[in-house]
Symmetry: C2
Subunit: 155 residues, 2 copies
DNA sequence: CTTATTTATTTCAAGCTTAAAGGTTTAGGC
DNA sequence: GCCTAAACCTTTAAGCTTGAAATAAATAAG
């Protein structure tokens, strides 16, 4: 059950890439599960909420709902519910966009920004530990390779 | 919105690892979204269902529910619903475990195995294209690095 | 044998996620 | 101005996901 798959000496490239994909998924899920658990027990929040607050924290003037869902690459209706709950909890607020009554702009409240700052600090520390197996050069190298995948996929 | 973040020449290691994590997440989600879309339009199925069938396909004698959730690293109650729908559709069946009336063993039906074979073949092809930016050596190298993360995290 | 604990699984409530459909509002052609 | 199309967003239905509680059966302890 816990045995590592041996790497065949020679095989079709598609198998090699498939193996990479499965490992990528496994590692991502491991890290995600850990972060989720920590966010829950330490801050009583969820990963999606953290992601939304992280995006908002980079835009002091706020973001339109469509910009938010575009940045996070999630569906349009998805952020509606998450923002709804953040607003309920006083971490975010919605402002009217002058000249466009369809759109609304979401931004963090002071309380939300302060809460996110605390969370982000711990989050960075958790990630640092979870990816501690890789040194800075390795991490940078892998980041560049992932960028190549992203550039190819987002044509 | 689509601008790539520049990599500072020098920074704390935790920032480098954080950047890697964000990129890892982004790339994984890109690939996942594409696979999900393809599974939906080509086969009318979902990623979680595919994952469960993939696990079952490796065990001709079937798996207990707890073994299944352990392999997929998802919660216990989660697989209950997914297997339920697979059984409804005639892709999987549940058998009693002799000597233990609590447990049940799930395995693919012939129909399920044949359907999965078709899906898996396409799936491998999609992955091959999505990760086409990396050559075999690079893919193997990244797989090994991800393994190091997994070994460290699963102590 | 009886009780307690552990194991295997399901149920539940809450929240996340998507695609599709619907409701407004804005912008563009004519 | 008027009509169509596009943009912005929410709602809905279905399914996924989790953690916690509940159920039931097997095992252990006394």
């Amino acid at each position: 059950m816990t045995s590592a798959d041996p790497t065949p000496l020679s095989e079709p490239t598609s198998k090699t890439r498939l193996r990479l994909w499965l490992k990528l998924l496994k590692a991502t899920r491991l890290v995600e599960a850990d972060l989720r658990e920590n966010l829950r027990t330490e801050f009583g929040t969820t990963l999606p909420r953290f992601d939304v607050m992280a995006a908002l924290s980079q835009y002091a003037d706020g973001l339109k709902m469509s910009e938010l869902s575009g940045l996070l690459r999630v569906s349009n209706g998805n952020v509606t519910g998450i923002v709804e709950r953040l607003v309920e909890d006083g971490f975010a607020l919605r402002e009217a966009v002058p000249g466009d009554r369809r759109a609304s702009r979401v931004r963090l409240t002071r309380k939300g920004a302060e809460e996110f700052a605390r969370q982000a600090s711990e989050h960075e520390h958790w990630v640092d530990e979870l990816l501690g197996a890789l040194g800075p050069e390795e991490a940078t190298g892998m980041t560049e390779q992932l960028d190549r995948i992203l550039r190819e996929g987002a044509q």
